[in-house]
């Protein structure tokens, strides 16, 4: 589904130059569930941002669905992004002024879907993540777990090919974290490719593949099966 070759990202300020990604080669096939792990500052979030086309790499090539998008301008990236990718963030990134329903509806609005269809899709996805009863609440009125469910719903509502999750459980307690992880597993089972950045060894084990990063490089990879098996019980 996506292939990165020699991908680098350098951040420059007037004083320092930081290499966040250093010649990363990585391929991810459709239907995979990949966890990216590593200590703070190893470049995993940067990698995720580039995968999600929220940022451009400094050099290297990045094929998304066989298209080299590394040098695409923001406008074009936005087009690809909104059709293919759903995002889940550690801090949920819901818009405070919008209701649960409106938050989830947002990507569909940007896809210029008619209102009736939007409503149908949003209702369905809210039902699916079990937050339908809160559809008219504002984010501030929800618990962290509920907010993340809304964020998951927002990621799902466009039926993306790829879900990118940046520390999705980082702000959640154990129970809520497990719940979100189970949702991701289920999505993956249904065919969605999932890439997740996490600190949590145990949550990483839900993935089929674990990529370890250090200082902007991919250092090791191994297969994580244990938790998945448990989740499927």
């Amino acid at each position: 589904m996506l292939v990165m070759q020699g991908l680098s990202k350098v951040f420059r300020t007037t004083e320092v130059e930081t290499t966040a990604l250093n010649a990363v080669d990585l391929g991810i096939a459709a239907g995979e569930f990949t966890a990216i792990m590593g200590p703070s500052g190893c470049g995993k979030s940067t990698l995720l941002n580039i995968i999600g086309m929220l940022d451009n790499p400094s050099s290297g090539r990045y094929f998304f669905l066989d298209e080299d998008v590394a040098k695409y301008p923001e406008r074009k990236l936005a087009q690809i992004r909104k059709r293919n990718i759903g995002f889940i963030f550690q801090s949920f990134n819901l818009i405070d002024e919008l209701t649960v329903f409106a938050n989830v509806e947002l990507p569909l609005v940007y896809q210029r879907l008619p209102a009736a269809e939007r409503k149908r899709k949003v209702d369905a996805v809210l039902e699916r993540v079990g937050i339908a009863a809160r559809r008219n609440h504002f984010p501030a009125q929800l618990s962290g777990g509920q907010q993340q469910r809304v964020a998951v719903a927002r990621a799902l509502v466009v039926s993306p090919k790829l879900i990118l999750a940046d520390e999705p459980t980082g702000n959640l307690d154990t129970a809520n974290g497990e719940e979100v992880m189970n949702m991701l597993v289920k999505l993956n089972e249904e065919g969605t490719t999932v890439i997740m950045v996490t600190h949590s060894r145990s949550h990483a084990e839900y993935a089929r593949r674990i990529v370890n990063m250090l200082d902007g490089r991919v250092v090791t990879e191994h297969v994580g099966q244990m938790r998945r098996a448990a989740a499927n019980v």
Partner: protein
């Protein structure tokens, strides 16, 4: 402690560059407009106040009351004998003097010019007005008939590089005079208007003998110190009844005006220079205040919007024991500091703009900082005032933050005070939109006035000035006329005692024969072909033509035959006739208490010879271009309709013919449309100034909007990032922000519309012929403001939205 405040203030300025830039720029532009306008206002209000005894100098003018529905007549001038009689009858009056005259030929050896600002004056004028004498003796300069006093400029014009005093000159080629004085040029801010003064004693007594009729003499007097002007005013009716006629005070009066009030308050006819207008001064003052208000609103808005960033500081200071009062002082100090910076920048702007503004307003304005009339103190006070006014809301608002909430981050989004900010934005845009609408309507009215069918063709007419006091008598009229008529490129030629747009108030009592009631009707003496040359059609009867041999008016030797007159429609209506009815009707024209008969031979349509601010005048035309008529010498303008084919050749031929027929007199000619333009120049200038200042108002309002949008995007940077991550395009973000601000601008339009309608309704009421206010100006004003706001906010939003979403999300 103050050092801490001061360094925080400086750092605030330096750190938020956009904020400081917008705030200082807005304030500076606002203050600069205020300073410019107030310089102008001060200049206007300061007219004639520099005379040492200005409070004791008065002008006394004659009023003729309205009779029989005819409007009254209120010239600036008075009758000839009044000045001397005042001195006799009122012991409180110290001296009195008269000034009289207009365009006159002055010459020295073979140098000759027409001087438009030549006047005859009594020597006592110098006791009333303390001119600055460069040469000569103010006590005796005009005591003898053969004397003339020149201004410095005129002295240099006629005697370049030499002393003028004692040198001989000629007035109108016949009165030999000696230069008996040179005075410094009059300052720009006096209503007095002259470049040369001849002695009144050179004129025959008959000129100034009439107690009634012509009012040619601007009459001034000075009061003795301590005397009461009211006491004189009360005795004026008695004075008139004694001097003029027993019932004089029932049909006329006299108005006394202090010299300082003349420029701004006089609405009298025949002022030498166009008067200022207290209404205009008031409207510009109001505009200045509104612009300043908009600038202050910006300041408040931006400060409160930025409060988010200051909230933590307030919290920390309060938790460390700062009292609210101290915080208020700190924030007020900051805003005053900002206002001071704004004032300094404004001063620079004013200095840069002054030359242009002076040239444009036709007033030589200068910014002086120190000494008498210096503005340094006022500027400082203005900065203080603006700082206090603009800083008060933010100061009290910011200092009211509760430390606990602030430090917990609850007051961190700058969303507080949003309602107040929105109200202010609506207010400033309402002002800006109202100004835009007003400007549009002023322009529409101006265009309407200019494009109005005048009832005659003003284009392609060349006007030649015959000698002012001799008229056609000095130009060998008939042969001259016939040769002009034959010149190539000439389509018609005629003469009249004045031309359209150069008004000479000349109303005579006219009545139906046998009627007791009369009307004052404007009177104009013309030659053959006047109506043909001006392309005025004939509605009924016929006009003066060789075919009908018209009987001229005011023959030197009475012939017993009633002269022929032509009326315009309004005059016919005033006398109670429809156009066709009036033909062949006998009327009577009053002059010096006698009524002489005349006969109406034709009626022509109404013509607009004046500004459309005034209702069209009823007119009575008489035939005066006959040497046997006393009017012959009064007919002093020659109008030539040219075809425009090879105009230079036509004009050259006209000039050559003039020199041949009128030797010793310079050619004075101009195009009639110049007079027309001059008529609307002040309206046009006003419109341009209005445009300029309402443009500034919009600009300042938009600057504020820019700042607000900037803060708004900064505050919502995360939201923008999320929206973009969710697939929102730049355009979606732009729409999100612009629609919010556009709503405010639309609301402002709703406020501005009735406001502008009401004000402009009143302004238009000052014009006799005026436009109906259409929706165009209103919709247009709102649309312009909306478009400008859209572009402003859109640009800011687009800039914020164009950033890669990762940058905004990282903000968290």
């Amino acid at each position: 402690m103050f050092r801490s405040y001061f360094s925080v203030a400086l750092r605030q300025l330096a750190m938020s560059k956009v904020y400081s830039l917008i705030n200082v720029a807005g304030l500076a532009i606002g203050l600069a407009s205020v300073v410019l306008i107030s310089l102008f206002v001060r200049h206007e209000l300061g007219y004639d106040s520099f005379w040492p005894n200005a409070d004791r100098i008065y002008r006394i003018s004659r009023d003729y009351y309205a009779t029989n529905g005819a409007p009254n007549r209120v010239p600036a001038s008075n009758n000839g004998p009044v000045a001397a009689a005042l001195l006799d009858d009122f012991p409180e009056i110290e001296s009195s003097a008269r000034v009289y005259g207009g365009r006159t030929l002055l010459s020295r050896d073979d140098v000759a010019f027409y001087e438009d600002r030549f006047r005859w004056a009594d020597n006592s004028l110098f006791q009333i007005f303390a001119f600055d004498w460069l040469a000569g003796d103010s006590k005796t300069a005009l005591a003898e008939p053969a004397s003339i006093v020149l201004t410095e400029t005129l002295a240099k014009k006629y005697f370049p590089g030499a002393a003028a005093l004692g040198r001989p000159m000629l007035i109108e080629n016949r009165i030999a005079v000696t230069v008996t004085g040179v005075i410094r040029d009059l300052p720009p801010n006096t209503h007095l208007s002259f470049d040369a003064l001849g002695s009144m004693k050179a004129l025959p007594d008959s000129v100034s003998a009439a107690w009634n009729g012509n009012t040619d003499f601007h009459t001034y007097f000075s009061l003795r110190a301590g005397a009461n002007i009211r006491a004189i005013e009360q005795r004026i009716p008695e004075f008139m009844n004694k001097r003029i006629a027993a019932d004089a005070s029932t049909w006329s009066g006299m108005t006394i005006m202090n010299v300082r009030d003349i420029h701004v308050r006089s609405t009298r006819d025949e002022e030498w220079e166009p008067s200022g207008s207290i209404a205009r001064i008031a409207s510009f003052t109001a505009i200045a205040a509104l612009i300043l208000l908009i600038a202050c609103i910006n300041f408040m808005n931006l400060s409160t919007a930025r409060s988010a960033k200051r909230a933590r500081e307030v919290g920390v200071r309060k938790s460390l024991g700062a009292a609210r009062r101290q915080l208020v002082l700190q924030f007020l100090g900051e805003s005053i500091g900002m206002a001071v910076v704004g004032t300094l920048v404004a001063t620079v702007l004013v200095e840069l703009a002054l030359p242009k503004f002076s040239a444009f307003s036709g007033v030589d304005l200068a910014l002086e900082y120190f000494g008498p009339g210096g503005v340094a103190l006022q500027l400082g006070a203005l900065a203080l005032l603006v700082g206090l006014v603009a800083g008060s809301y933010p100061a009290f608002y910011l200092s009211a933050f509760e430390p606990a909430r602030v430090l917990k981050g609850e007051v961190s989004r700058g969303r507080e005070g949003a309602v107040f900010r929105n109200v202010l934005v609506v207010a400033q845009f309402a002002i800006a939109i109202a100004l835009l609408i007003g400007t549009t309507i002023v322009y529409q009215q101006d265009r309407f006035a200019r494009s109005r069918d005048l009832g005659f063709d003003k284009n392609q007419i060349v006007v030649l000035a015959a000698p002012p006091n001799l008229g056609l008598g000095a130009v060998d009229w008939e042969p001259f006329r016939d040769e002009i008529a034959r010149a190539p490129g000439v389509a018609g030629v005629t003469a009249s005692h004045y031309t359209p747009f150069s008004w000479d108030d000349n109303r005579l009592p006219v009545r139906r024969q046998g009627s007791e009631d009369f009307s004052r009707i404007q009177f104009m003496a013309v030659d053959y072909d006047f109506f043909a040359t001006y392309r005025i059609e004939t509605l009924a009867g016929h006009v003066f033509s060789r075919e009908f041999a018209p009987r001229p008016a005011m023959l030197r030797v009475a012939s017993g035959a009633a002269p022929d007159v032509v009326l315009n429609e309004s005059a016919a209506r005033m006398l109670g006739w429809a156009a066709p009815e009036a033909v062949d009707k006998p009327v009577e024209i009053g002059a010096q208490a006698n009524w002489s008969p005349a006969r109406v031979i034709g009626v022509v349509p109404d013509t607009y010879f004046e500004s459309v601010a005034l209702p069209v005048r009823p007119m009575i035309y008489v035939f005066g271009a006959d040497p046997a008529s006393q009017l012959y010498g009064f007919i002093r303008t020659i109008s030539i309709r040219v075809t425009g084919d090879d105009l230079p050749a036509t004009l050259a031929r006209i000039d050559a013919l003039w020199r041949e027929h009128v030797p010793g007199r310079p050619v004075v000619r101009h195009f009639l449309d110049d007079d027309f333009d001059a008529l609307y120049r002040s309206e046009q200038r006003q419109a341009q100034l209005l445009t300029f200042f309402s443009g500034l108002a919009i600009a300042i309002a938009c600057l504020g909007l820019l700042g607000l949008a900037w803060f708004s995007t900064e505050r919502r940077v995360k939201e923008i990032g999320i929206r973009k991550t969710m697939g929102g395009a730049v355009w979606d973000v732009v729409l999100l922000f612009t629609s919010e601000f556009s709503r405010l601008v639309l609301l402002a339009s709703l406020v501005a519309w009735p406001l502008a309608y009401f004000v402009m309704q009143r302004w238009l009421a000052g014009f006799a012929y005026r436009i109906e206010m259409g929706p165009l100006a209103f919709v247009g004003g709102a649309a312009v403001a909306l478009a400008v706001a859209f572009v402003t906010v859109g640009a800011v939003a687009a800039r914020a939205a164009a950033a890669k979403p990762v940058l905004s999300l990282r903000h968290e």
